[in-house]
Symmetry: C2
Subunit: 109 residues, 2 copies
DNA sequence: TTTAAATATCGTAATATTGCGATATAACAA
DNA sequence: TTGTTATATCGCAATATTACGATATTTAAA
């Protein structure tokens, strides 16, 4: 069908899946990399950086923003984007917890 | 087009994107959750746990395995799956590095 | 050897994503 | 007001993902 049975899963599972889905494209990883290096950017900066058209970049930025991974504030005719550190902090905590759980397990295979 | 321009991006960016894409589905998050709780499982365990048909679960397990997030070893007529802790460790380090970078930045928006 | 089980693969339908040209929108400048 | 700049949205084509029934494969049991 191609339709995900979201209703069955917990809110936390759906939220995490949405975050990872947003990170699941190399262009969006590259945008995050750029923001980590430059601290902030406008859409045009990424258009100059990546081999993708302006509407495509705008769409990727929108997905990152919808997922809560970046924030954008209008500044004149352009929009200033930067990383939302709170979301990345939550993801970090998630993987720290997983690592802690894995420490108490031995690998089966 | 729907085709990703993978060639432009770095190997690291593509690898990370693939990992996150594999984690970008609630069923696969649920499978990881299950493995964290039970340590190991066979395909049938997940079929009993989630409201998805056996071929669908098998496909999700395959994607997690291809991404390197889980390992599977044949054991008689079934396959024993467990988390590949090395991959999760790398992801954890990735987010720890991001957090460290973000500490030295102030939020722009 | 036949049967049962567990899983994988194939084929396909429904849906989602990706990318971009064309165009809309919004703020500033001349 | 008119033009310019920066971004967003629309609409569409190409491709990818999701889900599952049917079936193949593989191993163990009877």
């Amino acid at each position: 069908m191609g339709v995900t049975k979201k209703d069955f899963f917990t809110d936390k599972q759906n939220t995490l899946a949405n975050l990872f889905k947003a990170l699941g494209h190399p262009a969006r990883i590259a945008i995050i990399d750029y923001l980590l290096k430059k601290q902030e950017c406008i859409c045009g900066d990424i258009v100059d950086e990546l081999p993708l058209a302006q509407p495509t970049i705008s769409q990727h930025l929108k997905e990152l923003k919808n997922a809560g991974l970046i924030k954008g504030t209008v500044s004149g005719t352009s929009v200033c984007y930067c990383i939302d550190d709170r979301t990345f902090s939550k993801i970090k905590e998630h993987f720290l917890l997983i690592s802690k759980k894995l420490e108490t397990q031995q690998q089966c295979c």
